[in-house]
């Protein structure tokens, strides 16, 4: 077998329908269009099982099938000798095919008709190039492997979490031409993801949340697999879908709904890849585009590699979270002036308001409240990550939780919403709370 499946992955983008022929035990052949043949790995593909059909009846009795696929740009045709192995009805493969099918269905006017019941997994025994007319492959716009090389050099040099996020999003834009992107981190205890960085949106949406398992982002985190959709689809649109899901899951009160998700009004291509740290999905790198079919298999490869580098760098930074000895600046509050700012905290969900304006809730809200209390009661302005981890009042989820991500979230919300207070990094594992007006703390029970 000279050809490998990897070499013809473009044929599995769903741009041109594929054909599958099967044969009944009585010798009657059957041929049908399939909306999606999905590349599983170098030796397997999966077909959508949408309703019981002759094809399905045949493969259950005689597992051999022949598929005909077409390269969407060159029109080159390939024929695959397949053998049906099994059907998966949940899990990473099923969810990524379900999302992809939703895009294809809405693009072809079949939303509501195409519905994935299962992913039929086949072994590929042979790949044959079908002689025929083919067009020259178009010149690629950029070399993704070279882009990845430069990105990996940048990412692995980052010395802290905030600059890592910045470098990742900047690399996507400058090197891969992806200008709408966000990074979300997992809050495993609450079963949600919160936005810590974004690029290419009018409002950053930092602090906005998505429940685990909802939309491409939530599903990528839940299943630990890339989810990619090549066409606009209402089924995976954000905004309302996320709110509805949150209500259904009874998370409305706990989920961040004050801060709208960033995101394109009409996203025509979506790709979410999990950020994996020590074998756990700890976040998601999400990109989108107003163009159809913007992200292909190779973009997915590049994003998976970048997300892996982000995950590994996060792990390296966490392992190295000893405080550095910073020059001990006078640990006394700077002088404040002007009318006081009233800061209210609602204990029920740790939500914090500055005056009447909502700032943050959850773990980042609890951290902010602790900083302000220590500032107000003891005049402290410098803090260490270690003392936050050890503080029982913060109930930090567990050691896998990324405290740095919570601090970046809090710092960015303060930057965006408050001209009076900010958080700045002093050294590794140390930061300072800077306050320029008097603060008045009000605790609201319940």
């Amino acid at each position: 077998m000279w050809l490998t499946l990897d070499a013809i992955r473009e044929c599995f983008e769903g741009a041109i329908p594929s054909l599958v022929a099967t044969c009944a035990p009585d010798g009657t052949p059957n041929v049908t269009y399939v909306s999606q043949i999905h590349y599983v790995d170098a030796a397997h593909v999966a077909l959508t099982y949408q309703f019981f059909s002759k094809t399905r009846e045949n493969i259950l009795a005689n597992p051999h099938a022949t598929a005909d696929v077409i390269h969407p740009l060159t029109a080159a045709q390939y024929r695959l000798a397949l053998e049906y192995l099994r059907t998966e009805t949940e899990g990473p493969l099923f969810e990524s095919m379900k999302a992809k099918l939703a895009g294809i269905a809405s693009h072809t006017g079949m939303a509501g008709v195409f519905r994935l019941l299962g992913s039929d997994v086949y072994r590929v025994h042979a790949i044959e190039h079908v002689p025929g007319k083919a067009l020259p492959a178009p010149q690629p716009k950029r070399n993704l492997l070279a882009a990845l090389r430069t990105a990996s050099d940048r990412l692995t040099r980052c010395g802290d979490f905030a600059s890592l996020l910045e470098a990742a999003l900047e690399s996507l834009d400058a090197l891969l031409g992806i200008d709408h992107a966000m990074i979300l981190m997992l809050d495993a205890r609450r079963g949600s993801l919160y936005t810590v960085a974004s690029r290419g949106y009018p409002a950053s949406g930092i602090g906005s949340e998505i429940p685990l398992g909802v939309g491409v982002v939530g599903m990528a985190a839940k299943e630990g697999t890339p989810i990619r959709i090549s066409y606009a689809t209402a089924e995976y649109a954000y905004g309302r879908a996320v709110r509805d899901a949150a209500e259904k899951l009874g998370m409305a009160n706990m989920l961040e709904t004050e801060i709208p998700l960033p995101g394109l009004a009409t996203s025509r291509s979506q790709l979410a890849v999990p950020i994996v740290t020590c074998d756990h999905a700890t976040g998601v790198l999400y990109v989108e585009s107003p163009e159809d079919r913007r992200f292909r298999y190779e973009d997915e490869d590049a994003l998976v590699a970048i997300a892996a580098l982000v995950g590994a760098t996060i792990h390296a930074l966490q392992a190295d979270e000893r405080e550095e000895d910073a020059p001990q600046a006078a640990n006394a509050p700077a002088p404040v002036a002007g009318p006081p700012v009233v800061v209210r905290r609602y204990a029920a969900n740790d939500s914090v308001f500055l005056g009447d304006d909502y700032l943050i809730k959850g773990v980042a809200g609890a951290i902010f409240w602790k900083l302000l209390r220590d500032y107000a009661n003891e005049g402290r302005t410098e803090f260490t990550n270690r003392e936050l981890r050890l503080d029982p009042s913060l109930r930090l989820p567990d050691i896998h939780d990324n405290l740095e991500a919570r601090l970046v979230l809090l710092a960015r919300r303060l930057e965006e919403r408050c001209g009076v207070m900010r958080i700045e990094k002093v050294a590794r594992g140390r930061f300072r709370l800077c306050v320029s007006r008097p603060v008045q703390l009000v605790e609201v029970a319940g």
């Binding site: 022929a21 059957n30 002759k54």
Partner: protein, 164 residues
């Protein structure tokens, strides 16, 4: 001849549909029940609708043509991309047949209809032309008698036998 006593499997509307420039996919199988496949480039239906003739590009269809010669089994899927309307016709007496004058004109006419159908859906015309290309000298003609026809449009009626 009992065969002639039955009404043809295809009604006039089906005959018009399969000759209207829809996409055509042809399959057969070998003695080991392994299916073969090829895209068709045209279709002609006899005046009495009892004989369906297909055109395929021979170099890309060698296994299919061997299987047809050996087993005579055939299944053909006709689909209109803009509406997803799809029918499948099956036969058990397929054989390689002689070309007729005018066949190349049929292929050309159906190709143009297919392009007119597919380009508005977003397919690039050069890609469509390449996929459905057959050199005139490479066209192989396959003919069979339809035994049965089935609706195959995606949805709840897929698989239902068509009543002529």
């Amino acid at each position: 001849m009992t065969q002639d006593a039955r009404p043809p499997v295809l009604d006039a509307e089906h005959a018009a549909f399969v000759q209207g420039g829809v996409t055509i996919s042809v399959s057969s199988r070998d003695a080991g029940l392994r299916a073969s496949i090829s895209r068709g480039v045209g279709c002609r239906v006899s005046a009495d609708r009892r004989r369906v003739t297909l055109f395929v590009a021979g170099t890309g269809a060698q296994k299919l043509l061997r299987d047809i010669a050996a087993t005579k089994a055939i299944a053909v899927c006709f689909s209109q991309p803009s509406t997803h309307r799809t029918i499948q016709i099956k036969g058990s007496d397929a054989r390689i047949a002689a070309a007729e004058p005018g066949d190349l004109a049929i292929i050309e006419r159906q190709l143009e209809a297919r392009i007119a159908e597919l380009v508005p859906l977003g397919y690039a015309e050069p890609v469509v032309r390449a996929v459905f290309h057959a050199d005139p000298g490479d066209v192989v003609t396959v003919a069979f008698t339809p035994d049965a026809a089935f609706a195959q449009t995606p949805g709840p009626n897929a698989g239902r036998r068509l009543a002529a």
